[in-house]
Symmetry: C2
Subunit: 120 residues, 2 copies
């Protein structure tokens, strides 16, 4: 997460660049950062390209996309076919954090509907 966070906020970086900040901060070896980057790459969470002879990594999914995937996983795990419960939970969670969220949610629904027209 720290690595992803860093790349989301600071754009693309090579291992050395990430290590210079995160690694130093938590006293972690260069190799550890490298393995982490590679594993995230294998998971398709990062993209990379060779620049000179070091990889430069970049996030492959936006923060919100990843969150969406993860929330989706939760939903699938816990109530695959009970979609009504899912929707109810959404409303509940939204309201729990901040009452204004219900308005926001409604707004997003409408925005989504509008965008629907423009799609193929």
């Amino acid at each position: 997460m720290a690595v992803l966070e860093y790349l989301w906020s600071n754009g693309e970086f090579d291992t050395k660049g990430v290590h210079a900040v995160l690694g130093k901060a938590r006293g972690i070896s260069h190799n550890t950062i490298q393995s982490t980057l590679e594993r995230l790459f294998k998971k398709k969470l990062l993209t990379r390209k060779k620049v000179s002879y070091a990889y430069v990594y970049q996030t492959a999914v936006a923060r919100d996309e990843l969150m969406g995937q993860m929330i989706n996983d939760v939903v699938n795990t816990i109530s695959k076919d009970n979609t009504d419960g899912m929707l109810a939970a959404f409303v509940d969670i939204a309201a729990r954090t901040d009452d204004a969220h219900l308005d926001k949610l409604e707004q997003l629904i409408n925005e989504y509907r509008s965008n629907q027209h423009k799609k193929s």
Copy 2:
């Protein structure tokens, strides 16, 4: 999950009762079911009371609550204060499964608002 699912759908049961259905179905020992029940109990996901000398287990949190907790965890893990992304994910997931869900979701929002008045 299977155990939770069963208890959510069928109310309270003792180890034997759960095993009779789930255990048999997947060829799992009585002990396995029992350990699972106990671990869920330790995690506060189940409640239990002694009836004669066997525990009778019951869910401690509703399916929706658990989902709420889990989604909350995801959001906290990935971007603590970015609740907007969360709401967007909700709309996305709702719409992905079935377009009618957006209407349903809107409806639930309104129901929630109405119920709000009746609360303290």
